[in-house]
C-alpha cells in the first residue's frame, strides 16, 4: 500500500519534472477563438492506483460549482448543497445515471463513478443548472485555460479532446494523435453556440404579455 502510494508520488514528481520538456496544445473553435474548458485526456500505459479522494460538486447560487469536474474512474463525488434552497440533482448519462432527490445540505453518501465517460448533471427543479463530470480513464487529464492552451506531458502520443459545446455527441471524446517531433500542436474543435434556455417563466411571460 505504501509502495503504491510512493509510486504515485514518484510518478507525480516525474510528471512534474517532465514539465520542462512538455508539449503545448492550443485549442480553438472553428472561428479561431481560443476554447477554454476543453478536457484533454492523454492515453498512457501507466497503471496507477485509483484516486480515493472524494471530489466535490457543490451547488452555489443555483449553479453547479464547479461547472466542469474532472475525476478519475472509480472516484467518488460529493454533492453538497450550499444554497438555502433544495436541489434535485440527476444524471441521465449512460456513464452514471443517478438521482439525488430533493435535498438540502450534503447527501448521506458520495456517489461513486465506476465508468469513464461524460456525466451531464441537471437539477430537476432548476432547469438552468447544468454541470459536467468528466470521468477519465487515465490520470493524465487536462483542462484548457482561458487562452485555450494546455501543456501536455512529453509522452503524449494519443489523446482525446472533449468540450461541452462540441457539435459531436456530448458523450463522444474526439481522438487525436500527436504528430512526431512536434512540440506545439493546434487543434480545432467545432462548437455550437448554446441556445438560450427557455423556462416556464419565459414561456408564460411571453404569452401573458402578448
Amino acid at each position: 500500500m505504501f509502495v503504491t502510494r510512493s509510486v504515485i508520488i514518484l510518478c507525480l514528481i516525474s510528471l512534474t519534472a517532465a514539465h520542462v520538456c512538455a508539449k503545448t496544445l492550443q485549442i480553438t473553435d472553428q472561428n479561431g477563438q481560443p476554447l477554454p474548458g476543453a478536457v484533454v485526456e492523454v492515453e498512457h500505459d501507466i497503471i496507477m492506483a485509483a484516486d480515493t479522494t472524494i471530489a466535490v460538486m457543490d451547488q452555489v447560487g443555483k449553479r453547479f460549482s464547479p461547472r466542469l469536474l474532472t475525476i478519475n474512474k472509480g472516484q467518488a463525488v460529493r454533492f453538497p448543497n450550499s444554497d438555502d434552497i433544495r436541489h434535485h440533482v440527476y444524471s441521465f448519462s449512460k456513464t452514471k445515471p443517478f438521482e439525488l432527490k430533493l435535498y438540502a445540505g450534503t447527501p448521506k453518501a458520495p456517489i461513486n463513478f465506476e465508468q469513464s465517460g461524460i456525466v451531464v448533471l441537471g437539477c430537476n427543479i432548476h432547469d438552468s443548472m447544468v454541470g459536467y463530470i468528466y470521468v477519465a480513464d487515465s490520470q493524465s487529464v487536462y483542462v484548457s485555460n482561458a487562452l485555450g492552451n494546455i501543456e501536455l506531458p512529453d509522452f503524449t502520443q494519443r489523446y482525446t479532446v472533449w468540450h461541452e459545446r462540441q457539435t459531436r455527441d456530448i458523450s463522444e471524446r474526439i481522438e487525436f494523435n500527436w504528430p512526431i517531433r512536434q512540440r506545439h500542436q493546434k487543434i480545432i474543435i467545432t462548437t455550437s453556440v448554446p441556445l438560450p434556455r427557455n423556462t416556464f417563466g419565459e414561456v408564460f411571460k411571453e404569452h401573458h404579455g402578448h
Binding site: 441521465f92 441537471g122 438552468s128 447544468v130 456530448i170
Partner: protein, 771 residues
C-alpha cells in the same frame, strides 16, 4: 277623358306614391347593399380576429401542454433512457392528457424516435422541418404530416441538455373548421397549397371544381345578374416555406341575399299595396270631387235651358260644393229676375208699360189666329212736340202716361191690348162688338181720351189724330195692319181730321211712293239721263229779248213712264232727298249756262229751291264751287223760292239769302200772291224779283180783277225796287197787257213750253228769226 280632373287626381296620387316608393326603394337598396357590404367586411374582420384568437388559444394550450410534457422528469428520464415502449406509452398518455392529435419525439438529428400514432411517416427532410419549427420558436406552425394538417409546436427535451425534440400538434380538420364556423359564422377552409390538402367547413362541393374553385366560382342568379355566393379573405398561416398553408374565410352571402330580397319584396309589395290604396282613395276623392261638378254642369245646362229649379242630387256634398250650388241658385234667381226684366223691357215700353212695336206684332199675330173681328186704332197725340218744347219733356212724358192710363181703362173693357210705337204714337186693338159700328167704338174711345187732363197741376186738353183699320176686311197680316193704321193716322194728321178710316188702296199708293223715292235715289246716283233739265224761256219785255230761262226738272223713268215733277219733288222733300236733287240741278244748270256762254249766248237761268235746301249748310258752298268751277258769273243765276219756303225758319233763311245775294246771285220770290207773305215781310226779304203766281196770269185778258191785282203788284214791285215776272202767259192779249203794265218778264206756254237744252237752242234760233 285623358285630361279629366278625376284622371288627373288619380294620376297625381298614384304618381306620387309610385315616386315615393321608387325613391325609398332605391335609397333602401343603395344603403342596404352598402351596409351589407360593410357588414360582410366587418364580419370577415371579426371572424379573422376570432379565428386568430382561437388559434392562439390553441397554440397557448399546445405550448403549455408541450412545455409541461417536456419538463416532466419521468418523460425526460424515459427519453434519456431511450426506452422505446415507455416513450411510446408516455407519448400516448400525454397526448390523451392534453388532447393533442400529434405527438412526436425526434432525436437531435431529426430522426423520429417515437410517435403517438402508429403510421406516422415523417417527410424525408425532417431535419428541415425541425429547423423550421424551431425557427418559429414558441409559435405554432401549420404543417402537414401523413396527409393531415396540424397546428404544431416543437419543444426541446432537456436533461438538462437538449436530448430530443418533441413535436406536439392539434389536427386542423373539418371539426375545427366547423367549430370555427360556429364561432365566426363564416365558412372556414384551411388549404395546403403544395399538398392540395383541405380542411373546410364546406363539406359538399363538386369535386371537379375544387374547393377554391367552388368558393370563388359559386354564383347565385338573382335580379337578372350573377352574384358571388361567397366573399372570401385568404390569410396565410405560419407554415413551412415548402408547404404554405392559408386559411380562407368565406362569408356566405346567400343568407344576406335572401334577407335583402325578402326586404325588397316586402317593400315592393307594400308599395304596390300603397299604390292600389292610393288609386282607390284618389278615385274616391276624385269621384267625390267630380260627381258634384258633373251634376253642376248638368245644372248649368238646365239653367241655360231656363230650368232654374234644378238642384243637386248629391246626398252629402262638401261645404264648398254646397256653397257653389247656393251660388248657382242665387245666380239662377238673379238671371231669372233679370231675364224677366229684360224680357219685359224687350216687349214693353218703359214709360207706359205698354207693349212695344215688336211685341205688338207678336200679339197681333196671336189675335189674327182667331176669327174674331177687331179694329186696329193708331192714335197720335197732336202737338205733343209743342208741349215738350213749352212745358218741358217731363210734362210731355206725363201726358203720354196719362193718355196711356185712359187707353188702358178703355181697352180693359174691350178685351184688347195697347202698344206704344214710339213718341206720341199709340196702337190699340178694339174688339168689334156685335151690333156696334166702328164709328161708335172709335167715338167712345175718343170721347174718353179728349176729356181734359190734369197733369202736374196743369189742365191740358189734348187733341188726337186717329187712324182705323178693320180686321179682317182691310188687312190680314200684323205688318199690313200696323202699316195701314199708321197710314191712316198720318192721313188724319195731315188732313187735320180727328179720325180717318183707312181706305183700301192707300197702302199700295204709299208703297209706290216709297218705290219712287228709291228709284229717284238710284237715278240720281246713276245720272243716266232719266233726270234731265228743261228750260222755259222768259221774255224780257223791256227789250223783247229772250235773256232768261226757268230751269225745270223732268224725270222719265227707265221704263218710259213720266213722273210728275210735283210728285217726285214732293216725295224728295219728304224723304230729305231734295238736297241731293237740288245739288244735281244746280250743277246741271250752271254747266248748261256755262255751255251757252261758251256758245256766245248769255242766258240767265232760274233754279227752284226748297226751304230744306236753304237750311242745308252745304248748299251755299256747293253753289259757289260750281260757279267757280264753270266760271259762270253769279248774276246769271236766280234762286227761286216760294213764299212758304221762305218763311220756314225765317232767321236762318234770311241769313242764307243775304249770303247768296252778296255772292251776286239774284233771288226771286216764287208764286207770289197766293201765299201768306205780308207786305211787311216783303219789305224785309232780301229779294230782287217778284214772280206773280200763274193764277193771276192764266186768264189775265179776261179778268178785270186779275188785271187790277197784276197791275198794282207790278207797280208795288217796281216801287220796292224789285223786278217783276209773270208766269203762265197763255195768249197774246195777256202778253200785251203785261207789256202795258210794264211787267219786266213774261213766261208761259204762249211763248214756249219748257224745252230740253237742245230744243231750247233751236227754239231760240227760230224765235229770233221770226222776231
Amino acid at each position: 277623358m285623358g285630361t279629366s280632373l278625376k284622371n288627373r287626381i288619380i294620376l297625381l296620387c298614384v304618381g306620387l306614391v309610385l315616386l315615393t316608393s321608387m325613391a325609398s326603394l332605391v335609397s333602401f337598396w343603395w344603403s342596404t347593399s352598402h351596409f351589407n357590404e360593410r357588414q360582410v367586411q366587418q364580419d370577415l374582420k371579426v371572424a379573422q380576429n376570432v379565428y386568430q384568437q382561437y388559434l392562439k388559444a390553441k397554440e397557448r394550450l399546445l405550448v403549455t401542454a408541450a412545455t409541461v410534457l417536456t419538463a416532466d422528469f419521468g418523460f425526460k428520464q424515459a427519453v434519456a433512457t431511450r426506452d422505446a415502449d415507455t416513450i411510446r406509452s408516455v407519448l400516448y398518455n400525454h397526448s390523451q392528457r392534453i388532447d393533442a392529435d400529434l405527438m412526436l419525439l425526434l432525436d437531435v438529428h431529426g430522426k423520429m424516435i417515437s410517435a403517438n400514432q402508429v403510421d406516422i411517416v415523417l417527410p424525408d427532410d425532417s431535419r428541415a422541418l425541425m429547423k423550421a419549427l424551431l425557427a418559429n420558436g414558441e409559435r405554432s406552425t401549420f404543417i402537414v404530416i401523413s396527409g393531415k394538417l396540424y397546428q404544431a409546436i416543437i419543444l426541446p427535451i432537456k436533461a438538462p441538455r437538449t436530448i430530443a425534440f418533441s413535436i406536439v400538434g392539434f389536427a386542423i380538420d373539418e371539426t375545427v373548421a366547423l367549430e370555427l364556423k360556429d364561432l365566426t359564422s363564416m365558412e372556414m377552409s384551411f388549404i395546403g397549397h403544395a399538398s392540395g390538402l383541405k380542411a373546410s367547413s364546406i363539406m359538399e362541393y363538386p369535386s371537379e371544381q375544387g374547393l377554391l374553385g367552388y368558393i370563388h366560382g359559386q354564383r347565385l342568379n338573382r335580379w337578372f345578374k350573377e352574384h358571388p355566393v361567397f366573399i372570401s379573405a385568404e390569410v396565410p398561416l405560419a407554415a413551412l416555406e415548402s408547404n404554405p398553408i392559408s386559411v380562407v374565410l368565406s362569408a356566405d352571402l346567400s343568407r344576406h341575399y335572401q334577407e335583402f330580397d325578402q326586404l325588397v319584396l316586402t317593400i315592393i309589395l307594400l308599395s304596390c299595396g300603397t299604390i292600389v290604396l292610393g288609386f282607390i282613395a284618389s278615385g274616391i276623392l276624385a269621384n267625390n270631387l267630380t260627381t258634384p261638378l258633373q251634376q253642376l254642369t248638368v245644372m248649368a245646362k238646365q239653367f241655360a235651358q231656363g230650368n232654374y229649379l234644378a238642384t243637386l242630387t248629391e246626398t252629402k256634398p262638401s261645404k264648398e260644393i254646397c256653397e257653389l250650388v247656393d251660388a248657382f241658385h242665387e245666380m239662377g234667381e238673379d238671371i231669372q229676375t233679370r231675364e224677366k226684366q229684360i224680357r219685359f223691357q224687350a216687349r214693353h215700353d218703359n214709360l207706359t208699360g205698354f207693349y212695344n212695336r215688336s211685341a205688338a206684332l207678336d200679339l197681333l199675330s196671336k189675335h189674327l189666329s182667331g176669327s174674331e173681328q177687331f179694329y186696329l186704332v193708331a192714335i197720335d197725340i197732336k202737338g205733343l212736340r209743342h208741349i215738350n218744347d213749352k212745358l218741358g219733356p217731363r210734362v210731355g212724358d206725363s201726358c203720354i202716361q196719362a193718355v196711356a192710363e185712359r187707353m188702358k181703362s178703355v181697352t180693359e173693357a174691350m178685351k184688347g191690348f195697347n202698344a206704344r210705337l214710339g213718341g206720341d204714337e199709340f196702337l190699340t186693338v178694339l174688339s168689334a162688338k156685335p151690333g156696334s159700328t166702328k164709328q161708335a167704338c172709335v167715338t167712345q174711345l175718343l170721347s174718353l181720351l179728349t176729356d181734359c187732363y190734369t197733369i202736374q197741376g196743369l189742365d191740358i186738353t189734348l187733341r188726337f189724330s186717329v187712324g182705323v183699320v178693320c180686321y179682317p176686311e182691310q188687312a190680314q197680316t200684323p205688318d199690313d195692319l200696323i202699316r195701314r193704321a199708321l197710314i191712316a193716322v198720318d192721313t188724319a194728321a195731315h188732313a187735320g181730321d180727328e179720325v180717318y178710316y183707312y181706305q183700301d188702296g192707300e197702302d199700295e199708293e204709299h208703297l209706290e211712293r216709297l218705290q219712287i223715292i228709291d228709284e229717284l235715289k238710284q237715278a240720281l246716283i246713276a245720272d243716266d239721263g232719266q233726270l234731265f233739265m228743261t228750260y222755259q224761256p222768259k221774255l224780257n219785255l223791256n227789250n223783247q229779248q229772250i235773256d232768261k230761262v226757268e230751269s225745270l226738272i223732268r224725270w222719265k223713268r227707265s221704263n218710259g213712264d213720266w213722273v210728275s215733277p210735283e210728285l217726285f219733288i214732293d216725295l224728295a222733300e219728304q224723304s230729305g232727298l231734295i238736297v241731293e236733287l237740288t245739288q244735281w240741278v244746280v250743277s246741271t244748270v250752271v254747266m248748261q249756262v256755262s255751255e251757252w256762254l261758251s256758245q256766245g249766248l248769255t242766258m240767265k237761268a232760274a233754279i227752284n229751291v226748297s226751304a230744306q235746301d236753304i237750311a242745308d249748310d252745304g248748299f251755299l258752298p256747293h253753289l259757289k264751287r260750281i260757279l267757280a268751277d264753270n266760271t259762270v258769273p253769279a248774276n246769271l243765276i236766280t234762286i227761286e223760292l216760294t213764299e212758304r219756303d221762305m218763311i220756314e225758319n225765317e232767321a236762318k233763311g234770311i241769313a242764307v239769302l243775304q249770303a247768296l245775294k252778296s255772292l251776286g246771285v239774284m233771288i226771286s220770290l216764287d208764286d207770289y200772291g197766293v201765299g201768306q207773305t205780308s207786305l211787311g215781310r216783303l219789305k224785309m226779304l232780301p229779294i230782287d224779283e217778284l214772280k206773280l203766281d200763274k193764277v193771276f196770269i192764266l186768264k189775265l185778258d179776261e179778268s178785270h180783277q186779275d188785271q187790277c191785282i197784276v197791275h198794282s203788284t207790278i207797280t208795288l214791285g217796281h216801287q220796292l225796287g224789285f223786278c217783276v215776272v209773270a208766269e203762265g202767259v197763255e195768249n197774246q192779249p195777256s202778253l200785251d197787257l203785261l207789256e202795258q203794265m210794264k211787267c219786266d218778264y213774261a213766261q208761259g206756254y204762249h211763248l214756249s213750253r219748257p224745252l230740253a237744252a237742245a230744243d231750247f237752242s233751236k227754239w231760240l234760233g227760230r224765235y229770233h228769226e221770226v222776231g
